[in-house]
Amino acid sequence: MNIVVPIKQVPETSNVKMDPEKGTMIRDGVESVINPLDLYAIEAALRLKEEHGGTVTAMTMGPPPAELAVRQAIAMGCEAGILVSDRKFGGSDTWATSYTLAQAIRKVGEVDLIITGERATDGDTAQVGPGIAAWLDLPLATYIAHITGVTTERITVERLVEEGYQLLDVPFPCVITVVKEIASPRLPTLAGKKRSKTQDIPLYNADNMELDPASLGLKGSPTKVVKIATPKVARGGKVVSAAGETGVMHAVDELMKFLDEKELV
């Protein structure tokens, strides 16, 4: 089974800065990591490979330093990595990103399964996985929490939905997006780390891929960011202490009053 896992390199969630003019992220000086939710996709792919054979290819689209994300994925056990990178891809929205990644997957050739993370922690859209499926016209199963069976032709999965789990039987090739429940990501191994340092990472760019130039990057993106604002997070709410003998009673009194005013009780 040949599996491709598109992974995104994102800034560590705790410290993110924005360019107020362009509405894009300032990446300088911020540590970059593999999107934490993509680690679940990598783990799911590695387990399938271990059980059923095949290869796992990690693919990332981003500026050249994103190559590190691919190397980190190789250190976890992926056989191969691909960097999809070109200045022309800069500023892509989810439409243009999923188009470019879909074309990169076509270039890889025979692929049975594409596993993406649920969403990236920076863009936070959860649109790229479904977008890739739509571009490639492949069946799509999102929010997968469990893989319950695999044959040469099909895969059965449990999809986390509002009512519980929807049980689906999906033919290969297909796209699935996974949630945290699927598996706990492993740590890189020593051998993997060693291999990741020397492994050749092919570069896919606008020159060696088949692409419609009008569908790339900022220009090719249907959506435009017009404004970025930083919301006030602190609500300046009331804080009461429950200390002392009557503290708990008093604090709960105040809380009941508050809930009453808000018509919540």
Binding site: M18, W95, A133, A134, L168, K224, V226, G237
Partner: protein
């Protein structure tokens, strides 16, 4: 003038509440643009009365596409239908719910009809002069609010989180048109088979659509202690939520997890007990209407985002709060 559309959702023939929430958003936009509002229902067994309810709650027209083969959400099939409808009627705007199906269908269709999509919008407005839809959404774990537009492509598509708007009051004097759209065989994509559903009552919670969520974190100390949160959640008719720490310790199942690697919720009331308020957890609760926190540490970050915080031992505060709620209940009856 092209219409504004909403995508109504159904499960087993019943319209979901979020279908009506979308109509209140859509109504405001349609009025501002001076156009009509239509709601699209894809499914099976949604009766005339339910379709009329969409009109009473704000729709001018309803497109109903129903067939036993459409009973379950299957992305490829629903996408073929919606793509066909969009190409036929060319709406200006489509709003759908940011639910498991909305968040699957909309990005698939956006590619098929060659347009942009903005996820999880919290605010929707019309830009003066151009009439473009201004879509505002939180990004980067709620650290920023980005306003996005789709100037040159139509339709403009957005998903909106459940519970982030209230339905309009029912107005039975409203009238409108119900259009039955015939189902064509070419719509049915049978590559994916739905085998059924699994729902484990113990494990499962639909926290995204709950009005009240009582959440516990590592401060709850053990699984058994979640019983008192369940009791309080039941009192409110809500659900129990949890931090990742509580889930990873096996105290409660993953569908209850709130936050970056769990669910984002916007309930009327969130109560967090023994939850510190890490940025990953806060990412999931920032859009709650009211946040109440109970924590023994006066420096816990959750107290900064709370509308009401109690610094104290949750094992004293929660039972006392429960006692007072029960008392209030007996008074009322």
């Amino acid at each position: 003038m092209s219409f504004v559309w909403t995508i109504a959702e159904q499960y087993e023939g019943q319209l979901r509440g979020v279908s009506f929430e979308l109509l209140s958003r859509g109504r405001a936009l349609a009025d501002e643009l001076g156009t009509k509002l239509a709601s699209v229902v894809i499914g099976d067994g949604v009766d005339e009365k339910a379709l009329e309810e969409l009109i009473h709650r704000g729709a001018d027209e309803v497109y109903s596409i129903q067939d036993p083969r459409l009973k379950d959400f299957v992305c490829e099939t629903y996408s073929r239908i919606l793509t066909d409808l969009v190409e036929t009627y060319q709406p200006a705007i489509i709003l759908a719910a940011a639910t498991s199906s909305g968040r699957t269908l909309m990005p698939y269709v956006a590619i098929k009809v060659n347009t942009g999509l903005t996820a999880d919008c919290t605010e929707l407005a019309i830009e003066e002069g151009t009439g473009n839809l201004l879509q505002t959404r939180p990004a980067i774990g709620g650290n920023i609010m980005a306003t996005i537009k789709t100037p040159d492509h139509r339709p403009q598509m957005s998903t909106v989180r459940p519970k982030s708007s209230r339905p309009l009051p029912r107005d039975t004097s409203r009238t409108g048109k119900i259009v039955e759209v015939p189902v064509e065989d070419r719509y049915i994509d049978d590559r994916v088979h739905v085998l059924g559903y699994r729902r484990d009552e113990e494990e499962f919670a639909n926290i995204e659509e709950a009005d009240f969520v009582v959440a516990g974190g590592k401060g709850m100390k053990k699984a058994d202690n979640f019983v008192m949160l369940k009791k309080m959640a039941d009192h409110f008719g809500g659900e129990v939520g949890a931090s990742r720490d509580a889930v990873d310790r096996g105290w409660i199942a993953y569908p209850h997890q709130i936050g970056l690697s769990g669910k984002t919720i916007s309930p009327r009331l969130y109560i967090g007990a023994g939850v510190s308020g890490s940025i990953q957890h806060l990412a999931g609760i920032k859009t709650s209407e009211t946040i109440v926190a109970i924590n023994s540490d006066p420096d816990a970050p959750i107290l900064k985002v709370a509308d009401f915080g109690i610094v104290g031992d949750l094992f004293q505060v929660v039972p006392e709060l429960q006692r007072r709620l029960d008392e209030k209940n007996t008074e009322a009856t």
